[in-house]
Amino acid sequence: MAAATSSGSGNLWRSVAFYAFIAFFLLVALFPLLWVFKMSIITRAEIFASPPTILPNTLTGTSYETIFSDARFQRAILNSVIVAGVTTVICLFLGSIAAYAIARLRFRFKSPFLTLILAIAFFPPVAIIAPLFVQFSQAGIINTYASLIIPDVVFALPLTVWLLVAFFKELPFDLEEAAKVDGATTLQAFWKVIVPLSAPGVFTTAILTFIFAWNEFLFANTFAFDISVQPVTVVIPQFATIYTVDYGAQAAAAVVVTIPLVILVLIFQRRIVSGLTAGAVKG
């Protein structure tokens, strides 16, 4: 099947066509990113040039200076890190114990429980913003980190549980038996044997949960009205009105938020793919 190793002129053409397809696909996939990156590093005059330039002519860092000197933007990144970080930690804690029960223990109400978790994955979050708004206001936590973290945890949990169940199932079942023979309880077997052994899977789950929480917009746009709590997803769209015609600054903001995720993806691509497709294959 390997295109690169095949011989003969027919196969050569097939191989050329294949790589042309791949090149075209990469170009389409990456074009918007490259284009917006280009917008962020050129002068305002070049941004407005008609016809537009294909390659950047006049390089400048003005757009990045604008963005990084904006206190609102700095604060937003900090808020995003806190909200996504805390959400990830809580999800991993709740999710790993639930996933362990599902993957490795026997109990009668397992499948209704799984169905409930799956239902949350398909739940339209907009359907509960009105009641949550009332409840959070009454509890005095509206417009705080908690009002973002609580709904984020619930909507990220299905992903966390789903991935962890798939990873926990991969380990051989005699592991706990052996631990129990040595006198460990179920909980000890879980913390001391299963969690350390599935560390790569847990780590992958953490990355995916973090990305999920980092990208959340609806709850943040509903429950956070001060700059002190708003994450980047809320602040970035506001740039369209703050920097009305400073398109370079808007482009720079988009690039800055994207780069950490691009780096994460490039480093962990193999793990992320294995996580994303876990369970989906046999399902």
């Binding site: 996939a29 918007p32 223990l105 619930v154 609806l218 769209p237 992320i272 497709t277 989906a280």
Partner: protein
């Protein structure tokens, strides 16, 4: 698992009691209770509350209002904005999911082999998937912009459009579909590729020996064996598109209406439309439930992670 469920059947409470007598299942319940509690408190009770509110004339400041039956639902279906939301969300879901499926399957079939640069392709595929929908919406908005947008410029030069993309609702909807297809097709391709890789090569070998053509192989082997992966991808994408909010809100600067933007505007911005917003919230919840039910029961999709 088989031996445990085939016993004499006690009553419902008897079953629960019996469950708590073995240490293993008792531990299992303790471990699942926190997750269960969080889901019930933060998602299940609020949706019940939304349902109650949807039958009432109520303001955001009241805990409960007066019962008005189906009046809110009737008013909602008569609201032109809701009809817009209905039309846009339906077209967006059907067209973008169909395109993502066809393109995703084509890409998955093309890259289902060993070749040099495969890792690079996979990384490139993941990048659009990983970053926020809000940022992707902003990027596409910049490209659709009438003064500086490259796509607006090209479309205008080719005579494809007669007015700026960002000022026309039809063009905005097409723009939203294009942006979503760009962002999500790679994800669909990855899911389908993972499914393709579980099909053993000797199945195709046997088919070739029996004289099956490529087209026959595709429809008689690939598609049936890929059914599980296809259903998972379609279900995820359909329900994700059905609740679309970020993309419409940011890319069109609140002009393009979807179910989610309609609910958001009604319950969060306009106080007057609060009752209609509650009705629409319940509507989007129930319609998502029906869609999921059709996939799971109607198409016989299996729903447990890691098989079995």
């Amino acid at each position: 698992m088989a031996q445990q469920s085939q016993k004499k059947e006690p009553g419902f409470f008897g079953k629960i009691k019996e469950e708590f007598t073995t240490a293993e299942s008792r531990t299992a319940y303790y471990m699942t209770v926190p997750t269960l509690a969080v889901i019930l408190i933060v998602a299940f009770f609020p949706i019940m509350y939304s349902m109650i509110l949807s039958f009432q004339q109520v303001t955001p400041q009241q805990t409960f209002g007066t019962f008005v039956g189906l009046q809110n639902y009737v008013a909602m279906f008569q609201d032109p904005s809701f009809r817009d939301a209905f039309f846009n969300t339906t077209v967006f879901t059907v067209v973008s999911v169909a395109l993502e499926f066809v393109l995703g399957l084509a890409i998955a079939l093309a890259i289902n082999r060993q070749f040099r640069g495969r890792g690079m392709v996979r990384a490139a595929v993941l990048v659009p998937w990983a970053f926020p929908l809000v940022v992707s919406a902003l990027m596409w908005r910049l490209m659709y912009q009438d003064q500086i947008g490259i796509i607006n410029y090209v479309a205008n030069t080719l005579g494809l459009i007669t007015q700026p993309i960002l000022t026309d609702e039809g063009l905005l909807l097409i723009g939203a579909i294009v942006s979503d297809v760009w962002k999500t097709t790679p994800f669909v391709a990855l899911l389908l590729l993972a499914g393709l890789q579980t099909i053993p090569g000797d199945v195709y070998e046997a088919a070739r020996v029996d004289g099956a053509s490529r087209v026959q192989q595709f429809f008689k082997i690939t598609m049936p064996l890929l059914k599980g992966s296809i259903l998972v991808a379609l279900l995820f994408r359909t329900l994700d598109a059905w609740r679309i909010y970020d993309l419409f809100w940011v890319m069109s600067d609140r002009q393009l209406e979807s179910f989610s933007t309609y609910v958001y505007k009604a319950v969060r911005i306009s106080q007057l439309n609060f009752p209609l917003g509650n009705a629409a919230a319940v509507f989007i919840f129930l319609s998502a439930l029906v869609l999921a039910f059709i996939f799971i029961k109607g198409f016989g999709m299996q729903t447990s992670p890691g098989g079995k």
